[in-house]
């Protein structure tokens, strides 16, 4: 019996080796296909995540809740210090609230004077965080809203306070948010009092650094960082965070969003601005004249420049 089996193994071994080689070849081919035609394979991935992760929710939710309860219980241990801290913060907040109320009134008056009409189309969809990225090298979360709810790639995502990231990958019922701390995240920002423009480049650390800052000496730790709306990536003036200086003297940003507990996220519906493709069509007498016949040709050339 034993001899039979070993003989069979000896016979089967080369065949097995060929089959494993074929499997490795298929896997490498899948990788190369992903490298060449990424969107198609990524769509497959999104579809898989869309099927798989909401199905695991029944298992994940109780565990998440339990870990949250343990963490809350631990925080009971230092309830006294927390109470003191909260009182101090409340005092500061009261002062801020006064300032905010005054500013709100002033703002309303000024808006009334100048008859500014705010964009009424900036609305949001709120989603619940389903899952983490699961890998230490990626910073993303999965939301339970997707194509069904009208979510589209590239939209900005905020928690109650600040910008969290952008939508990248939309399935039917789920969508993935790349956080600002992910190594692939690049967001154009402006730094508030000085108006300096910069790029907030995630590098997989909790405090993403500012890059391409023109005059770093105009920026001080403590300055507010808001999205600049450059490049049409995000709507302008969403709060991102505060500037700090790291121990390596690089300027970094503390996100205003609370990355420790991302639970409900707002996806801002942003509508793409009308692209200006035609330089000649902009300046026209009030009555309007017919565009020159070669406008279409000019337009296709000018669009890529501007």
């Amino acid at each position: 019996m034993a001899r039979d089996r070993s003989a069979q193994q000896n016979f089967g071994r080369p065949v097995r080796r060929i089959l494993v080689g074929l499997l490795v070849f298929l896997l490498v081919a899948l990788f190369l296909l992903w490298r060449i035609d990424s969107p198609r394979v990524e769509r497959l991935r999104v579809a898989l995540v869309d099927r798989f992760v909401p199905g695991m929710d029944w298992a994940m939710r109780p565990v998440t809740r339990m870990v949250g309860m343990v963490e809350h219980f631990q925080s009971y241990a230092r309830v006294y210090e927390q109470n003191q801290e909260l009182r101090r913060e409340l005092q500061q907040m009261k002062a801020w609230r006064e300032a905010a109320l005054q500013l709100e009134q002033e703002n309303a008056k000024l808006l009334g004077l100048t008859q500014v009409r705010l964009d009424p189309r900036l609305t949001h969809v709120t989603g619940v965080v389903l899952a983490d990225s699961g890998s230490p090298f990626r910073q993303s979360v999965l939301l339970n809203v997707g194509e069904r709810d009208g979510i589209r790639d590239g939209w900005a995502t905020m928690d109650g306070l600040g910008l969290v990231g952008r939508i990248s990958g939309v399935g039917r019922t789920t969508s993935r948010v790349i956080l600002l701390t992910d190594a692939n995240s690049r967001v154009p920002v402006s730094i508030q009092p000085s108006g300096q423009r910069a790029i907030l480049a995630g590098d997989n650390t909790p405090l993403p650094p500012l890059e391409f800052l023109e005059k770093a000496d105009l920026v001080r730790p403590g300055d507010r960082v808001v999205s600049s709306g450059d490049g049409g990536v995000f709507p302008a003036d969403l709060l991102v965070g505060q500037v700090v200086q790291g121990p390596d003297r690089r300027l970094r940003v503390i996100p205003a969003a609370d990355y420790q507990r991302l639970e409900f996220l707002r996806v801002l519906r942003s509508h793409e601005a009308e692209p200006i493709t035609d330089t000649g069509g902009l300046i026209a007498p009030p009555g309007g004249i017919a565009p020159p016949p070669d406008a279409a040709v000019d337009g296709s050339g000018g669009g890529s420049d501007g």
Binding site: V20, R45, A131, N204
Partner: protein
């Protein structure tokens, strides 16, 4: 009855799938870990190495490939590449499964550590060749070091919880064949 289930490889294969899925769920929990923390060890890799060296027939190559590919897709890694390296590494160990029955645990651990490091090196080389953004070397090495340290724990847990061990000399399976 438990013994009957345990002696059949299908029960073990289902167990392998269940353990891999459980680690996936734990990693996907939305607990809001901050960026830049220490990476957790790759338990699926440890489990694969440990089981392949103990009972190669419980973890067929196709099962390993399917599980790691699922992990690749869910964890936003380049699909297929890490799976290919895990498959190659596990095949290397599978060929040495009978040889490792004579090794002490220390020597087996060293062998697994070398294989894990070689897999990391191959993976990084392949991502560099494909012009993909590399993850930080320190973080990647920390993860492999964690996996190597976790290996004895995984072996011990497999032994204690599931009763998985190397077949003794002359042990026979349910059909009376020599292992």
């Amino acid at each position: 009855m438990v013994d009957a289930v345990r002696s059949a490889p299908w029960g073990w294969r289902a167990l392998f799938v269940a353990v891999v899925l459980a680690t996936l769920v734990v990693r996907l929990l939305p607990l809001g870990r901050a960026a830049g923390g220490w990476p957790a060890p790759d338990l699926v890799l440890c489990l694969t190495c440990a089981w392949v060296l103990r009972r190669p027939d419980y973890v067929p190559a196709l099962l390993i490939a399917a599980m790691v590919l699922l992990e690749d897709l869910l964890l936003m890694r380049p699909p297929g590449l890490w799976t290919a390296f895990v498959l190659l590494g596990s095949e290397f160990l599978r060929d040495r499964a009978s040889f490792s029955r004579e090794l002490t645990f220390m020597a087996e651990w060293m062998m697994v550590a070398v294989v894990m490091l070689a897999m990391l090196a191959g993976y990084r080389l392949a991502t560099a060749l494909a012009f993909l953004p590399q993850q930080g070397l320190g973080m990647a090495l920390a993860q492999v070091a964690g996996s190597i340290l976790a290996y004895p724990v995984v072996v011990g847990a497999s032994r204690l919880l599931f009763g998985l061990r190397k077949p003794a000399t002359g042990e026979v399976d349910a059909y009376g064949r020599r292992l």
